[in-house]
Amino acid sequence: MAIGIKKVDSNITLTLWERMYAPEIIRGLYITMRHFTVNLWGLALEALGRRDKRKIMTVYYPEETLTPPPAYRGRPVLVRAENGLEKCVACGLCEVACPPKCIKITGGERENGDRYPLTYELDGGRCIFCGFCEEVCPKDAIVMSAEWRELCEYGRARMVYQKEALLYPQRNLQKRINLIRSRYFGVSRYRGKA
């Protein structure tokens, strides 16, 4: 357990062998050719239909796309519960917590007294994908989806999502809801054990 000090050796001298031009060129080419061959072999595997065996960093977008890990924060979306209504109760927490202030809500009330968002506007051009809205929402009504493709538009006005464009059925988002529920182990859970 110690933080030591290590001297780096900057006194790099080239031996006669290394100063001769050709051997060093060959050594350098060996390194680059190795990478090149791996990539070329990947191309052959692609042609043989064994894409999964490839050892290439890049993917053939858009035919092939990456699946982001569960923790990934994509476009924030609203959850539509099984009964077809939005879960949001227009409490305004996400509106306050959003750092670039890109959420605008007007609340309304249903006949049975439940509150719901009359309008819910999320400016995708301002959103910084921070995930605070998801974190503060007391109803699990807004979550970060895995959606990251084709969010660009011709013009900022078209990036403003209205409520209908944001609503996603809950069953598509259940994984994410479970994930955020498992976050921040509960105080109560640990208080009981202490």
Binding site: I3, K6, L93, P99, G131, R181, Y184, V187
Partner: protein, 403 residues
């Protein structure tokens, strides 16, 4: 010059040359981070240099004054965007020092893991870009691959590749995902291979050595006087590293080395950073081995983000949650300075609280500002071509320097 032609020949007088004034940047390929050099050249020799920064100024400090304490985190991500989690950690530690809380041990380990991954990404970017600008495109590609792999890790932990927004006051957002340690080991194995290839391509390369060695040098005394920190100071042979001088988090319990150089030239800076990559991987491996189980947030609903369960069930947590979100956490009045070792040197946060939910002042000590201000000292009288490796090794990050 004159004696080269014939005795008594005054080159300047007879050819009527005048120093040439040129503008390098702000959008020159080598001035990444957007900076402008105002150069006065005598032939290829730099006579005068003025560095103009501020192109990426976006009022970070003013912006923070309008955010709640926790809302500042996304903004700190954008300081040194190549190593975002380190900024998160620095800010969180400063705020926690002001409150007077310490996070649980597992959380400290998680912060070290996120921070060191970020340091790796910062060094890969810096060294790769330096190689690229000296003509070694292939080496750059290898380190970009290594960086992508590290970002995969960061993404699975923090949820984003670049702007992690991972740390919170009183804890972190997420625990290690399943299989993280195995994934990390796989990545480190591949990254070591890439590191080897990178080093092999460059360290015996005559052109690279000639352009790096004995350029942009600064003496140890000057470096200290100009406020150097980080790899650039260590390259001069001063073993100052905040992780060692004032250990924070769990760095005191870990086993690693601080690489130091000797001459303080660009080659030493390069080698120090190259070795730091190895040391960071060493730290990460130890952390993944030793990380203890336990909570990842403080056990106090006032200073933490409550879990969804608590918001639904625990009355106290719910009240604090609404209060904290609407008014911000009421951090006690006072001021504090906390420094951590950023990818580039000592990254300090100076926070002032008036007891309200928003910071009264959030000042950052960016490591590369001090380094950039010494640029004229390092390149005056040198060749124009020496400016490129020197500027690369200074590693000016516009987001951090201009804020």
């Amino acid at each position: 010059m004159s004696e080269l032609i014939r005795p008594g020949y005054d080159f300047h007088k007879e050819t009527h040359t005048e120093p040439m004034v040129i503008n390098m940047g702000p959008s020159h390929p080598a001035t990444h981070g957007t900076v402008r050099f105002f150069l006065t050249l005598d032939g290829e020799i730099i006579e005068q240099i003025e560095v103009e920064i501020g192109y990426l100024h976006r009022a970070f400090e003013k912006e923070c004054e309008n955010q709640f304490w926790n809302g500042v985190f996304p903004y700190t991500d954008r300081l040194d965007y190549t190593a975002a989690a380190l900024n998160n950690v620095g800010y969180a530690l400063a705020a926690e020092k002001l409150i007077g809380i310490t996070v649980p041990e597992r959380c400290q380990y998680l912060r070290v893991i996120a921070g060191e991954l970020a340091r790796l990404s910062g060094h890969y970017t810096n060294l790769g870009a330096a190689a690229l600008e000296l003509g070694a495109l292939t080496a750059f590609i290898y380190f970009v691959e290594a960086r992508e792999l590290v970002w995969d890790l960061i993404e699975s932990l923090c949820g984003a590749r670049l702007t992690h927004n991972y740390v919170r006051i009183g804890g972190v957002t997420a625990d290690l995902p399943e299989g993280f340690a195995e994934h990390a080991r796989e990545v480190f194995r591949r990254n070591r291979e890439l590191w080897d290839d990178f080093a092999k391509l460059l360290l015996k390369n005559r052109i690279f050595l000639d352009r790096m060695r004995a350029t942009g040098g600064i003496s140890r005394q000057d470096a200290i006087e100009w406020g150097f920190t980080g790899p650039c100071l260590r390259a001069c042979g001063v073993p100052y590293d905040v992780r060692r001088a004032q250990p924070y988090l769990v760095y005191g319990q870990l086993d690693f080395d601080i690489p130091v150089g000797e001459t303080g030239d660009n080659l030493d800076r390069f080698l120090v950073r190259l070795e730091e990559i190895n040391q960071s991987i060493r730290i990460l491996e130890q952390c993944l081995e030793r990380i203890p189980p336990g909570p990842i947030n403080v056990d106090n609903p006032e200073w933490r983000q409550p879990s969804k369960d608590d918001i639904h069930r625990d009355m106290e947590s719910m009240i604090f949650h609404f209060k904290n979100t609407f008014e911000g956490q009421k951090i006690p009045a006072g001021e504090v300075y906390q420094a951590i070792e950023g990818a580039n040197g000592e990254l300090g946060f100076y926070l002032v609280s008036s007891g309200a939910g928003k910071p009264l002042k959030c000042r950052v000590r960016p490591p590369c500002f001090a380094l950039t201000s010494a640029m004229p000292l390092m390149v005056k009288g040198a060749f124009l071509a020496d400016l490129i490796p020197t500027f690369d090794m200074i590693n000016l990050i516009g987001g951090e320097c201009d804020r």
